[in-house]
Amino acid sequence: MSKFKNKKNTQLPEISTASLPDIVFMLLFFFMVATVMRKDVLMVENNLPYADQVEKLDKKNLIMNIYAGKPSSRYHLGSESRIQLNDKFADVKDVQSFILEERRSKREAQRPFLITSLKVDEHTKMGLVGDIKKELRKVEALKINYTTRQGEAKNNLK
């Protein structure tokens, strides 16, 4: 008899919240894995073209980024493609000094391995890209990488 009585009187045990931090951490891990960190704030449109014959750029500290594309609409600068270097709009002639500056900030031993990553919007005209390449050749930054998204090349032709 006492058995039944006992059951009736027992309150439901409190749900333990000790595992709550774990759940939060799990979420944290998910976001950590899924996010790509970006160093520069983009001021230009940057829809990269697709390619599948790609190489990965592993050594982050050896990469110099040059962005190009139409200025974002919030800047009201028209639709002429522009270059962005280090959070600033830049001219073609600024590319040389940018490369030299970046080079100076790296250690001597790293300098020969620097790679210039061209992050160019797919709607950019080749004229601008050609100008950038010419400037890069002038300062002997010959290793370049056309950064792309993974996908078949025919995705570019729409």
Binding site: A18, S19, S117, K125, M126, K133, L142, T148, N156, L157
Partner: protein, 202 residues
Amino acid sequence: MTRRLAPSVNAGSMADIAFLLLIFFLVSTTIETDAGISRKLPPLIEDTPDIVIRERNLFRVEINKFDELLVEDIRMDIKDLKNAAMAFLDNGGGSGEDACTYCKGNGDLKSSDNPETAIISLTNNRETSYAMYIAVQNELVAAYNELRNREARRMYGISFVDMEKNLKDVRYGGDKNILKARIKKIQSMYPEKLSEAEPKNQ
């Protein structure tokens, strides 16, 4: 009978465990890296020496300002470019000193002698879109990669792309010096000779 409650587990160490996990993932995750087509620009030389290149050893690829692809002045669809480039590179039409022992092409006398002399010339207009340019670059690189893969598989039983991947992999078990020499060898069999003229101004 004594009342039995489920004994409460001390949750104080839970946070420590979570931190351990956090640190583990922090150390072991690599943040997604960028990828792209790597190229090497030619150095800027003031006076270029005149080198005579036979017409048949030159594969002209042009992208005009309407994003149309012209191969040897004939319009071509982008999906045919890779095969056309491969046929040109792998032709092996030379004889005697210029003969190519590993080529599997048709040996057409109007096409390239051997992969070492075969040059792909890429011209674009200032008005060409970057997307089209990358698509063409991608196809040309694919042509080289496929030929290199074929030879690497024949000689070493592993594709060229995998060899390069192994070279970058820190956990690769084999001898990296041998691997490097092999990659060099394959590269010299199909050297990437891609010449880019300055964009035409029209």
